[in-house]
């Protein structure tokens, strides 16, 4: 239901694309559409307080709202992207309590009290986060759609590595691994880049890992 509502508002390009997508989806899955029509129009909502980029937001949400949809549709933080909406592409990656997650596969109601950081929260005093600057410098993108997720993922990756977390690329999981290109690639495998800017993404991350621009 929520996805049909944009028809009633001004048809901005974003809204138009969204709505067109929803219609295609509905046509592809007719039983779902028929059931949706039979649902009550107003669902009980939950009070949720989300802390995003240091700001608290009190929201009344349908419990079905994913964290991703709450960020984008309710808080207007459209930097976080919706790609596959099923945890396969990583475009929706945000950082929650210091750990990166797919915001499409978690409910907003499950995040009261959590500290959520999105791409909009990485800059400090108007300056790009070092990882953002490195992506620009290394040309770690082409179309840019996956980039906010890639950057949030990369920022969290460095913290995980600093904490000594191993990866599947770590030969001996009992040791603290060195952040080789193979380690970076393995640790970034949850972020797909269809333009295939991987080589430059890896070099951007390596530069920040090694202490930034020299």
């Amino acid at each position: 239901m929520e996805r049909i509502l944009p028809f009633l508002t001004a048809l901005s390009r974003r809204r138009f694309l969204e709505t067109a997508g929803a219609v295609t989806l509905a046509m592809a899955s007719r039983p779902a559409a028929a059931e949706a029509a039979a649902e009550p129009v107003s669902m009980p909502t939950e009070n949720v307080t989300l802390t995003v980029n240091g700001r608290r937001h009190a929201l009344d949400l349908d419990p079905r709202t994913t964290l991703l949809d709450a960020l984008r549709e309710r808080l207007g933080l459209t930097g976080t992207k919706k790609g596959c909406d099923q945890g396969q592409c990583g475009a929706c990656t945000v950082i929650v309590n210091g750990q990166r997650i797919n915001s499409c596969l978690t409910l907003a109601v499950m995040h009261t009290g959590d500290e959520i950081t999105t791409i909009e929260g990485l800059e400090e005093d108007g300056n790009l986060h070092p990882m953002q600057a490195a992506f620009v410098r290394h040309d770690g993108l082409q179309c840019g759609y996956c980039t906010p997720g890639q950057i949030c993922s990369a920022v969290a990756l460095l913290a995980e590595h600093k904490a000594g977390w191993p990866s599947y690329a770590t030969a001996d999981v009992a040791t603290a691994p060195v952040l080789t290109d193979a380690e970076i690639a393995e640790r970034m495998s949850g972020n797909i880049c269809r333009c295939s800017a991987y080589a430059n993404i890896v070099s951007a991350i390596r530069e920040v890992a090694e202490g930034g621009r020299t």
Partner: protein, 327 residues
């Protein structure tokens, strides 16, 4: 997604009591459940969020093992230094699964109870006895490349997707549960899963309202621990075949062996046959091949997944060779 009532659990007892209705589900990480709810494959009317429950610890046990709380995330478990030093096969297996983003949410209990990734289970336009009992199995004559080759039935050939569970099977993990009436029990991981038979929609022996509270790892068995996963791409893909092994060698002989496979059955497939063939046998490629033949003797391909049988044998041989230093 169908509408549901959302509840934060206040205690284990109240959570279990709320969940006795089949339309109620526990939610922990949610990475599998929410995906299935979006597709209306899962349609709970009531979700009980177990995040407030004190089930996120990893503790030493008196017998020298570890007790892992059901809510411990896959990332935290794989990174725990006790696991990395004493149960490296478990760390390796967890790290072989999914992506860091998913492992940061996915939990120990949820990982065990994840549902199959069979393409026909996910495709709601196709028959599936697991999703809709009695509707048939589209995978039998379909594109069944990812499906199981052993222990399954003509009603369902879905494979279990977990890597973590394969390592837990080889470590003799036990699942500790609590039921709605407060009764607790301990289930060997191998006995947690029910063979599909003609009721593939019933996947575990857990009763409605019964919650996994923790997983118990006995002290680590002697031998070298290894996990190897074979898949379509280098990272972030489900296993075609995987092997977890714990193997010890004395002189030229294999003195102890535990073997489990992933990707080939409805559950992590521990192979007593392979283990029996290995213990006391010379550590040679011929012995490893014999173990592989013993492990897969009852396997049956369904067309596109025939390759999994030789692939499982060869992966086992490679792992055993690696573990024993045989070239």
């Amino acid at each position: 997604m169908k509408p549901f009532h959302y509840e934060r659990a206040s205690s284990v007892a109240s959570a279990c009591a709320s969940a006795t209705e089949p339309t109620t589900k526990f939610i922990a990480g949610g990475t599998n459940l929410l995906d299935l709810m979006k597709l209306q494959i899962e349609t709970p009317t009531h979700l009980v969020d177990i995040a407030p429950l004190p089930l996120a610890q990893i503790e030493e046990t008196a017998e020298g093992g570890l007790r892992i709380g059901a809510r411990v995330t896959n990332s935290v478990l794989a990174a725990d230094m006790r696991v990395r030093r004493r149960y490296p096969v478990l760390s390796q297996a967890i790290l072989a699964g999914a992506s860091t983003q998913l492992r940061n949410k996915a939990t120990t209990g949820g990982n065990l109870l994840q549902r199959t990734r069979c393409a026909y289970f996910y495709d709601t336009t196709k028959p599936c006895n697991k999703r809709m009992p009695g509707s048939g199995c589209a995978a039998l004559d379909g594109l069944n490349r990812m499906n199981a080759v052993i222990g399954v039935s003509n009603d369902c050939i879905a494979a279990h997707g977990s890597d973590m569970a394969v390592a837990m099977a080889v470590l003799d993990a036990r699942v500790e549960t609590v039921a709605a009436d407060g009764a607790t029990r301990t289930i060997p991981i191998d006995a947690l899963y029910r063979a599909p038979g003609n009721t593939p929609h019933i996947e575990t022996v857990l009763a409605p309202g019964e919650m996994i509270q923790s997983v118990l790892l006995p002290p680590p068995p002697p031998g070298r621990q290894l996990y190897r996963k074979v898949r379509d791409r280098a990272s972030y893909a489900f296993a075609l075949v995987s092997v977890a092994a714990v193997v010890a060698r004395e002189g030229d002989l294999v003195s102890a062996a535990r073997v489990a496979f992933g990707g080939i059955s409805y559950k992590p497939w521990r192979s007593a046959e392979a283990e029996a063939a290995l213990v006391g046998a010379p550590a040679t490629r011929a012995s490893f091949d014999a173990a592989g033949r013993a492990a897969l003797k009852d396997a049956h391909g369904y067309g596109y997944n025939d390759f999994k049988i030789p692939l499982a044998r060869r992966t086992l041989r490679a792992v055993l060779a690696d573990a024993t230093g045989v070239i």
